[in-house]
């Protein structure tokens, strides 16, 4: 069995990969906005957060790489599509609608916070890494929460567009809660309770939304949902993955 197969068979790996793959793909997708942000500061912020997300994914891949004797780049790029544990919310096309891109990023940043808290229970090395990542993601959260409040206090167009984006994304946001592994009980244990995680995530989002005057109607999806986190990916994931791997396929080992 190869090191990669060993890694994919380890149940503890699933939650680490879920977040790492979410951040890898979101960082890649959000990178499409570089140069196109609505204002200069926003463009810089968006690109900075995308860069952070990619490096946070790398920090988690490095942890797995050290454990299983794999190059983190190999983990990031060379798995079979079915071995990616990201949910398809992160690769859903935003059609260059800033409100959709913003609301998705805000939801994923809120998701990363309690997940990093849980991952930090996975031993000393993960604890050190996740503690740092949580602090850095905290900067994103502050920034995005601030924007959410400002948009809520903004003109009608801002409020309508954000509410419309929330209405569109909320039904898909449950994808984040999909149990990543094949063994529902083992993976739920590792999450320290899926319901608790869900409540923590939603409570933090609600606190911001209620102050901003927005509404989000979200429920915990069933445990046995099968989707991206268990390797059943949508077409848009496959396209984004192929695009992300283009240079690596063209010129393996390229460096600059």
């Amino acid at each position: 069995m190869t090191a990669m197969q060993d890694m994919m068979k380890d149940p503890d790996v699933n939650l680490v990969l879920s977040l790492a793959d979410d951040l890898l793909m979101l960082g890649h997708v959000q990178g499409d906005w570089t140069g196109l942000g609505p204002i200069l500061e926003e463009d810089i912020a968006s690109s900075s957060m995308a860069q952070d997300d990619l490096s946070h994914a790398l920090v988690l891949y490095e942890h797995l790489g050290n454990r299983f004797g794999l190059d983190p780049d190999v983990i990031a790029y060379e798995r079979d599509v079915a071995d990616y544990r990201c949910c398809d919310l992160v690769t859903m096309p935003d059609e260059f609608d800033w409100s959709v891109a913003f609301v998705r990023r805000w939801m994923v940043a809120h998701w990363a916070d309690p997940v990093l808290d849980r991952l930090a229970m996975g031993g000393k090395d993960l604890e050190d890494r996740c503690r740092r990542l949580r602090a850095e993601q905290g900067v994103h959260l502050s920034y995005l929460d601030d924007w959410m409040r400002r948009l809520g206090a903004g003109p009608a167009e801002a409020r309508e567009r954000i509410q419309a984006a929330l209405d569109r994304i909320t039904p898909l946001a449950g994808m984040l809660m999909e149990i990543p592994g094949r063994d529902l009980d083992v993976d739920e244990d590792f999450c320290c309770g899926r319901e608790e995680l869900f409540n923590e995530w939603v409570t933090a989002m609600d606190a911001v939304l209620s102050g901003a005057g927005f509404i989000m109607d979200i429920t915990l999806p069933a445990r046995d949902v099968i989707g991206g986190r268990r390797g059943e990916h949508a077409e848009h994931f496959i396209q984004q993955h192929a695009e992300m791997n283009e240079v690596r396929c063209e010129d393996p080992g390229a460096a600059w």
Partner: protein, 179 residues
């Protein structure tokens, strides 16, 4: 492990001369160096702390350290290790580093000061402008030219300046290591 006092001072001196690629101060003044050990055969191990994990300068810093320390007389080899414990903090920046940064328009939060995150505003108390000293300053952008800095604006002298980000776990961070 035997510490060779003969090599150690020269290793520290070499480190103190290595500039951060993106800031006008050395990696020692920035508080990146956590530990330096030398064994009896001249193998040097240097433990560094990354400022922000997304900092693209990390590879360059590691290369500079391995090359410049590795070139010293009596140094057989030099290895660099990045660790996250303790987490790097602005509290690790030395007084000399703070003075150098301020001269280049980069302010540093006081040790034990307010974190940059977990609040609607970043550093709610006004920062003294490094150019004119006025406290009539405001946050212009929480994301600056590098991961570790915000952009601030001074209403008084109409100049921008940068402020090093202090993260909210830093109250738990240790003070600078012996390195």
């Amino acid at each position: 492990m035997v510490i060779d006092d003969g090599i150690l001072p020269s290793v520290h001196a070499a480190l103190a001369d290595i500039p951060d690629p993106e800031l006008p101060c050395s990696i020692v003044d920035l508080g990146l160096v956590e530990a330096v050990t030398v064994d009896e055969d001249g193998h040097v191990d240097i433990t560094l702390l990354p400022t922000f994990t997304g900092c693209p300068a990390l590879d360059m810093i590691a290369n500079d350290v391995t090359r410049l320390v590795g070139n010293l007389d009596a140094v057989e080899s030099c290895r660099v290790h990045w660790v996250f414990d303790p987490p790097w903090s602005t509290d690790r920046i030395t007084e000399a580093g703070r003075t150098l940064l301020k001269a280049h328009g980069v302010t540093v939060p006081t040790c034990g000061g307010e974190p940059a995150s977990r609040g609607v505003e970043f550093r709610t108390t006004a920062i003294a402008c490094p150019w004119c000293g006025s406290h009539e300053t405001r946050l212009d952008s929480p994301f600056g030219p590098t991961r570790c800095r915000t952009i601030q604006y001074c209403e008084s002298c109409k100049n921008t300046f940068e402020d090093m980000k202090r993260l909210d776990h830093e109250d738990e961070a240790s003070s600078p290591g012996a390195g």
